[in-house]
């Protein structure tokens, strides 16, 4: 390899940290624009939803298991269960679905 491994690691770490740090440190003055405030209010919902679907159904080894995990997580979050309950129940659903599928 021509390039040094540790320089690569430093480059990675510095770039990633700057991306996270600059907005937090530089943009602390309160924003008054209603549009920007509304935009920032909707960002987490849009961002988390985009990251979750369809990624959740393809994350496990089997698609059926992913769909089962998604369904269980949807129902439990609709019932307003806590984060850890929803997370663990989704994992359990994937596990059960994959075990059941392996029987056939």
């Amino acid at each position: 390899m021509v390039h040094n491994l540790y320089i690569h690691i430093i480059v990675m770490a510095v770039v990633t940290y700057l991306i996270r740090m600059l907005p937090l440190v530089l943009l602390k003055k309160e924003i008054t624009s209603p549009f920007v405030r509304s935009f920032l209010y909707y960002v987490p919902f849009a961002c988390l939803a985009a990251m979750t679907f369809p990624a959740i159904i393809y994350a496990p080894d089997l698609l059926v298991a992913g769909i089962a995990g998604f369904a269980v997580a949807l129902v439990l979050s609709y019932l307003e269960q806590s984060l850890i309950v929803v997370a663990l129940a989704a994992c359990a659903a994937v596990f059960v679905a994959e075990r059941l599928t392996s029987l056939f």
């Binding site: 996270r20 937090l24 209603p34 405030r37 909707y42 939803a49």
Partner: protein, 234 residues
């Protein structure tokens, strides 16, 4: 007060740490499989704390890519964090101490952002420290275990743990979507948008980090234009 925030952050960080362990376990395995030693693999996880960025970084290192390639790739894949930091910048209550902003910034990940954005009112940095205090060890230890053993956790457990973080995301976004129709529309539109990038042949070429940026800006932008929120104090 700080203690309470820290504890709550720690509690919400437990499922994050679990999910991280599974993901970074895979990262550790892949790094060693590609010929990297255990030390640098763990070092990458400890200094970067980002899944997609690290996997892409591995590809560049193994392919002997240039440093500029590394800069660009990390920038594109991780740019979504700047959006999250932008959002947290308004919410974080640093109590006049700028140090908190530098420290919280290190732990701005998809998952920690998810739980901290869901906190009502202003955000205490101690909440983030609590979440980071379990999420970071989960990430680093997962990498270490994956790198050492290659096969510590059976595949079936890894597969099950892979949905933990998404389950958490749903637990964060679904309850507010029940009472606020605009939030519901935002959630549905964002899911539809990212599905389009997944299923439409040409759009498939866009990297997953870029997809999140495009969909988030588009959907949140339209929602803010169509339905601005009534002014709330944070």
């Amino acid at each position: 007060m700080n203690r309470t925030h820290f504890k709550e952050g720690f509690r919400d960080g437990i499922p994050i740490g679990l999910g991280y362990f599974a993901v970074s376990f895979t990262f550790g395995m892949m790094a060693v499989a590609g010929g990297m030693k255990i030390g640098p693999a763990v070092l990458i996880s400890a200094t970067n704390l980002t899944s997609a960025g690290q996997f892409a970084g591995l590809d560049i290192i193994f392919g002997d890519g240039t440093y500029w390639e590394m800069v660009l790739t990390q920038l594109i894949i991780n740019l979504r964090y700047s959006l999250m930091s932008f959002s947290l910048a308004q919410k974080l209550d640093d109590g006049g101490n700028p140090f908190h902003r530098f420290a919280v910034a290190f732990g701005v990940t998809d998952e920690i952002f998810g739980v901290s954005a869901a906190r009502p009112g202003r955000l205490s940095p101690y909440y983030n420290y609590g979440a980071m205090s379990i999420a970071i060890p989960g990430w680093v230890l997962g990498t270490l275990c994956g790198a050492i053993s290659g096969n510590l956790l059976p595949a079936m457990i890894m597969s099950a743990l892979s949905v933990a973080i998404y389950g958490m995301f749903l637990a964060i976004i679904i309850p507010p979507a029940k009472s606020d129709r605009t939030v519901l529309a935002v959630v549905l539109a964002a899911m539809l948008g990212s599905s389009a990038f997944y299923y439409v042949p040409l759009l498939r070429r866009v990297s997953s980090g870029m997809v999140i940026i495009i969909v988030t800006i588009l959907v949140a932008g339209v929602a803010a234009y169509v339905k601005p929120i009534e002014d709330t104090a944070g």
